[in-house]
Amino acid sequence: MLFTSYRFLFFLLVLFTVYYIIPKKCQWMLLLAASYIFYAYAGWECLIFIGITTLTTYVAGRMIEQNHATQKNYLAAHKAELSKEEKKAYKERQKNKRFAVMTVCLILNFGILAVLKYTNFVIANMNGILELTGSTKVLAFQDLLLPLGISFYTFQSMGYLIDVHRGTYPAQKNLFKFALFVSFFPQLIQGPISRYDDLEKGLFGQHTFDWTNISFGLQRILWGYFKKLVIADRMLIGVNTLIGDTATYTGFYVFLGMLFYALQLYADFTGGIDITIGIAQVLGIPMQENFKRPYFSKGIKEYWRRWHISLGSWFTDYLFYPISVCKPMLKVSKWSRKVLGEKIGKRVPVYAASIAVWFVTGIWHGAAWNFVVWGLGNCFFIMLSQECEPLYEKFHNRFRVKEKVWFKAFQIIRTFLLMSSLRMLDCYRDVPMTFKMFGSMFTDWNVGEVLSAGVWNLGLGIHDYVVLAVGTLILFTVSMVGRRGSVREMIARKPIGVSLVIFGSLFIATVLFGAYGMGYDASQFIYNQF
C-alpha cells in the first residue's frame, strides 16, 4: 500500500478514527493489527520473513534478559562465599552465553537479509570472474523475494537485541508488543530506524485525543505530501529524462541533472519521513527526527550528522565503535603506534573501522558496485577532511574568515556540490558511466544550448518549472525559518486565520500541482527500495 495511494489515505482515516474511539489500553493492539494489514498488502509471503525476525529476536532478547537476571540473583545469593576471581570467572561465563545467543540471532537475521538482498549480486560478480578466467559456465540468477522494508526492520530489531545484550534496557516481555515495535507501519518502509527505548513509551502508552498534537501531525503529513507530490515527483520527470539518455545529455545537462536529483531525493526522502513522523504524532507517538537541514551543512562530517540521522547513528553505535574499540583493534592500535609512530598509528583503528562502516553503508543502500563506490567515496572525503584539519586551522588563523557569512555560504555550497557529485553514482547506477558523465561536465561546454533550448526538452513545461521554482523557494524558506524553532508552532501562535490560509493553500497546492496528472502515477518513495 503506497503512502501516495487513496487506499492509504482511507486506511489512515479509519485508523485515526477507531484509535481514539476504542479503550485506550487497546490502542497498541489496533496499531499492531493495522501494521500487519498494511504489511500484508506487500504480499503474504513477506509476513513470514518479518514474523521470523520478530520471533527469533524476541526469544533471543528474553534469553539474554533471563541470563542477566540469573547472574544477578546468583551473585547476590553467593556474595559472601565467592572470591573476586570466582565472581569474575562466573560473570565471564555468563557473558559468553549471552554473547552466543546474540550472535546466533544476528547471524540468522543478517543472513536472511544477505541471502535475499545480495545473492544475485554475488552471482553477477562470480559470473564476471568466470568470464575473465575464460570459463563458459554461467551461474543462473535466483528469483528471490525481497520483503518490503527488510533492511529497515532488520536493523531496528538487531539494534534492540544488541542493546538488550548490553543491558541498556530490559527486553520486552510481551511478544505482541515486540511485534508492534518491529512492524510499526509508518516507519516500516523507509525509517527512521528507531531505538526501542525512544519508541516504547509512545507505542504502548495510552493516548487521549489532543487536538494540538493531532493538528500538528496532520500539518506535517500535508507538508510531506507537498514535498513528495509537488516537488519530488515532478522533478523525477526531468531526472529520468537526463539520466535516461547519456549520449545526448552531457556537459551542463549533467550538472543540471545533479542539481535536480539533489532536490528530488531531498524532497522525496524528507517528505516520506514527514508523513511518517506526522502519522506517529497524530497517534500521540513521538518519533526522532531523521534530518536536520542537511543541505546547510558546512562540511561532510556535519552533513552525515544531519542526513538520515537514524541510519548514521545505528552504524556508529553498532558497527563503528564495536570495530574500532574491540580488543584485537586495540592491539593493532598499539602495534601501529610503535611501527608507524604516534601520529599516524593512532589513526589506524579509526580509519579501518570507517572503511568497514562505509563499505557496509554503501552495500546497505543497494546490492551494486555503484553503491559500494559511493560509500567508499564518502569515506575518502571524510578522511581527507580529517587529515586537512591542521591546514584549515592554519588557514583560519591566518585569514580570520571563519565567521564571515560569505565564507559560511562558500562552505555550504562546496559541501552541497561534493555530496551531489557523489550521489551521481546513485543516479547513473554504473561506476564507469558516472565518471564519464562527471568528466563531461568539464569538457562539453554546452551551457548556452542547454539554457536556451535544452531545458524545454526534458519533459518539463514552463508551468512545471514555475511550480518547481516556487516549491523550492517555499522549501528553502521553511528550512531557513526552521533554524529558529518549530515552524508549525510559530504559525500556531498567529491568529487562526493565518493557519487556515497557510495550510489551506498548501492543501490546494498539493491537490492542484501534485504530479498526478494525465499519464502520470505517483511513484514509490526512493528509500522504499532499500
Binding site: D317, V325, C326, S333
Partner: protein, 75 residues
C-alpha cells in the same frame, strides 16, 4: 584525574575539560576523538572501555569519564 585531563587536552587544547560537561551533547568530542581517547586510556590506565560503555552519560565530562575508568578498574 590529572593524567586523564592531560590526554583530553592533547586531543582538544582549546577546551576547558575541568568545566565542560557537554562534550557529547555539544559535539565537542566526535566519534574519531572517542576512539583515539579510548585507545589512549587503554594504554595509560590498563582498562578496556568497550562499545557498550560509549554513552553520553559516560563521556559528557572528564569527571564522568574518570568515574567510568574507576568503575572498570574495580571490576
Amino acid at each position: 584525574m590529572e593524567q586523564l585531563l592531560e590526554i583530553l587536552s592533547d586531543l582538544h587544547p582549546d577546551v576547558d575539560f575541568e568545566e565542560c560537561d557537554t562534550l557529547i551533547d555539544d559535539g565537542i568530542l566526535d566519534s574519531f576523538d572517542i576512539v583515539s581517547l579510548i585507545s589512549e586510556i587503554n594504554e595509560e590506565f590498563d582498562v578496556v572501555i568497550s562499545a557498550e560503555h560509549i554513552t553520553p552519560e559516560n563521556f559528557n565530562s572528564a569527571e564522568d569519564l574518570y568515574a567510568l575508568i574507576e568503575r572498570l578498574e574495580e571490576e
